[in-house]
Amino acid sequence: MPALVLPTDDVSLDDVTRSASALRRFLAGLPGVDQVGVEKRAAALATRSIKRDAKLFALDLAIRMTDLTTLEGADTPGRVQSLCAKAQRPDPADATVPAVAAVCVYPDRVGIAREALEGTSVRIASVATAFPSGRAPMSAKIADTQFALDEGADEIDMVIDRGAFLSGDYGRVFDEIRAIVERCADTDGRRTPDGRAHLKVILETGELATYDNVRRASWLALIAGADVIKTSTGKVAPAATLPVTLVMLEAVRDFAALTGQMRGVKAAGGIRTAKDAIRYLVVVHETAGGGWLDPEWFRFGASSLLNDVLMQRAKQTHGVYWTADRIPID
């Protein structure tokens, strides 16, 4: 018997997406999220004490799950190249350190990254659809995405139109996501298990204001076909938080139970220390389940996190802390 996830039995996602009003009814009918309760649960999970082998496993996993990110107006080709080098070999002195999952850049830097990552397993993720605000005509969003895909992006990190979402126009958000899903479906030869470009949908939870909205936006993106739901652009505070990520993990867990389809979560922005990363992994482990402890199903979007994880990993393997000068700068 499939696991039950929603108070309403026999949800058919076909019915849900038949009209904008059906979609709105479904999203409004999702069980609420109690703010006090979810924050208490996240805080309790954050007290888990991860030591020795369990810590080393978590640190390596955190590296393998990292989307090493540079999203600055001032990004130079040289900076992207050095980021790509670091992505493949985070610690030049230690070959046992795994490569990260992906580098994440703006569309016009995808070409540079593609050259630098030729022949490696490190994927190229590109933000698109008028990142970070999403305030552009649909034609521009599609062109933005298509450009990144043509340049060779393996993964697209799109932003949703928060204005449309907050005004209740879920149909419009759905249609926009769907349009990008179709562009991604129409690709091949990418470094993903199925060769197709994968889509991460950024909810920008810092602008959604309530956990109820986070839950609705998560389901909306999942129903529309997102491979991964992502917390934040990193350009808005607050970015990723533990309780927001927990709510999103509940959504992918329940979506998997309902449809049999695995989807992922990406926590992006504000995660800077290995200790933070381990807390997120505990939440993944005890909310969605051990099956999500895989770079295909959980990612960290971060720039400085990797350096702290490398420091902690060195401490765990060599018994002493390194000076920060031993960690290559980005």
């Binding site: 979609l23 007290t47 888990r48 004490s49 991604c184 197709r196 076909g225 998997a256 389940g289 051990g290």
Partner: protein, 498 residues
């Protein structure tokens, strides 16, 4: 908007999400944070003494059955001596300005915080509860009670109990083993703040943190005799509560013993407050924030191994979401970690004693025999010590023993309701009335239900939250009198002229 799943998801199957793939390494708290004296005396008149007849008894770790210490067994002569010391101390303690009494209580509160890790480790060892709970709940909440009541000590005239409320005298206090330090704090802090002196008897199976608290009284330079601690068994408690030299009895424990005490004190003029058993209803409506309701159910019945008088041991769930709740609950329970109480990742510790384990086992077996469907956590259980797997009964009839009797263990009985009236009727259908929980996103329903539930504490969208500012106590066979808040002060004050 057709073909909703176009291009979505890879051809993967849903993994087995329940099998842990990431084993947390053991993370034990350092046991040597606390030094356990192999032999402890009775704390009378500011100093430790052996029992007059030299009697002792052993206290063990329920997680390993390891012998922890021998403590003195107080007899009648020791009770006499302690009550006399408390009486002597009362003369000066009760005349101390409230501000000065408050200083002692603040000092005790700060010392509890400073020595929090020591208390947490010792409580886990002696009681069997997880260090996560002693560290995050028991010890900080105990300190909070002292801070709160320290603040009241010089403001009693403004507590709404008359302009010159007076202390009662010597309080005889008997506390249970489920929250040894916290129950001590609930009893001692208000008594002292109001100007009373106390003779306290901790539970037989958990005397050690009370003795460490005696250390703190010495460290705080509390005047001798203000706090006296007599370790012992049921006999000691019976002698204490029946002693003619005391003015007030405060008891937390079983309803059966509470009734004996009330009979004993009838007609003596001595004041009494009782905080007894419970069989709380945790009511889940179909519109509840479901994932948080599941957490609340877990907190309600599996916190402290279910050794909680206000535990949400009866889950009363709207029938339309019964299967959903049970499904989500059992999946959540599968993540609970049972084992070494000193491991920082342990969620479920040991049952406090063999006697309690036997009682839980008997009632759970009765539930099965009565036809309820039994589910229990599939987890290994240590070879030594007293352990009981978290258990959920579905299809429980309101007439069955597991729906009526207090189990005081990690056992949840699930029943259903159709209408709010039926929920109220089922929730109130118990001799007890200590606490209840309501889970709904509808505010008006919370208020309407809270009005009709006969329980001293009603939690809405949370459970088992304790705060010194909030009065706690029961209806019906759950006892009378309140602890905490302004109401709690009334149990230790009189407005009569001296």
């Amino acid at each position: 908007m057709t073909d909703p799943l176009l291009g979505a998801g890879t051809e993967t199957t849903v993994p087995d999400v329940l099998t842990p793939t990431w084993e947390y390494a053991p993370a034990p708290e350092a046991r040597d944070l606390v030094t356990i004296r192999s032999r402890s005396g009775l704390f009378i008149d500011g100093a430790f003494h052996d029992a007059a007849d030299g009697g002792t008894f052993a206290t063990i770790s329920p997680a390993t059955e390891e012998h922890l210490a021998d403590v003195a067994l107080a007899g009648d002569a020791d009770v006499d001596r302690a009550v006399a010391a408390a009486r002597r101390a009362f003369a000066s303690w009760s005349r101390l300005p409230g501000r000065e009494r408050g200083k002692y209580l603040f000092r005790i509160a700060r010392l509890l915080q400073e020595r929090a890790r020591e208390f947490a480790v010792l409580e886990s060892l002696d009681n069997g509860k997880p260090i996560r709970e002693t560290r995050d709940v028991d010890v900080p909440t105990a300190a909070a009670h002292f801070f709160y009541h320290a603040g009241w000590a010089d403001k009693l005239a403004w507590a709404g109990l008359g302009s010159h409320p007076r202390p009662l005298g010597v309080a005889g206090q008997v506390i249970p083993w489920n929250f040894p330090l916290l129950m001590l704090a609930w009893k001692v802090a208000p008594a002292l703040a109001c100007g009373n002196t106390v003779v306290l008897k901790p539970a037989e199976t958990t005397p050690l943190t009370a003795l460490l608290f005696a250390d703190i009284c010495q460290q705080a330079d509390l005047p001798p005799g203000v706090v006296n601690i007599l370790t012992g068994a049921g006999e000691t408690g019976a002698t204490l509560v029946g002693h003619e030299g005391i003015d007030k009895v405060a008891f937390t424990g079983s309803t059966a013993v509470g009734k004996q005490i009330q009979r004993r004190l009838a007609g003596t003029g001595r004041r009494l407050t009782l905080e007894l058993g419970g069989k709380a209803a945790n009511i889940v409506f179909e519109d509840a924030a479901m994932d948080q309701a599941i957490e609340g159910i877990v907190d309600g019945i599996f916190f402290n191994q279910g050794h909680v008088c206000c535990a949400g041991s009866r889950l009363i769930v709207q029938e339309s979401v019964h299967d959903l709740v049970v499904d989500k609950l059992t999946r959540r329970l599968a993540t609970l970690r049972l084992g070494d109480p000193l491991d920082k990742n342990t969620d479920i510790g040991a049952i406090n004693s063999r006697a309690q384990l036997d009682r839980i086992t008997e009632l759970a077996d009765a539930g099965e025999a009565e036809g309820a469907e039994r589910w229990e956590l599939d987890c290994p259980v240590p070879d030594h010590g007293f352990w009981f797997r978290p258990t959920v009964f579905t299809g429980v009839s309101p007439a069955s023993r597991i729906a009526q009797e207090e189990i005081f263990g990690p056992v949840l009985s699930v029943m259903t309701f159709r209408t709010p009236d039926e929920a109220v009727a089922k929730a109130n259908n118990t001799p007890y009335g200590l606490s209840a929980g309501i889970w709904t996103e509808k505010g008006s329903r919370i208020l309407a239900m809270a009005d009709r539930l006969r329980a001293g504490v009603v939690w809405a969208n949370t459970f088992n939250r304790f705060d010194p500012t909030s009065p706690f106590g029961g209806y019906k066979e759950s006892g009378f009198g309140r602890e905490g808040g302004r109401h709690g002060l009334a149990a230790y004050l009189t407005t009569k002229a001296a």
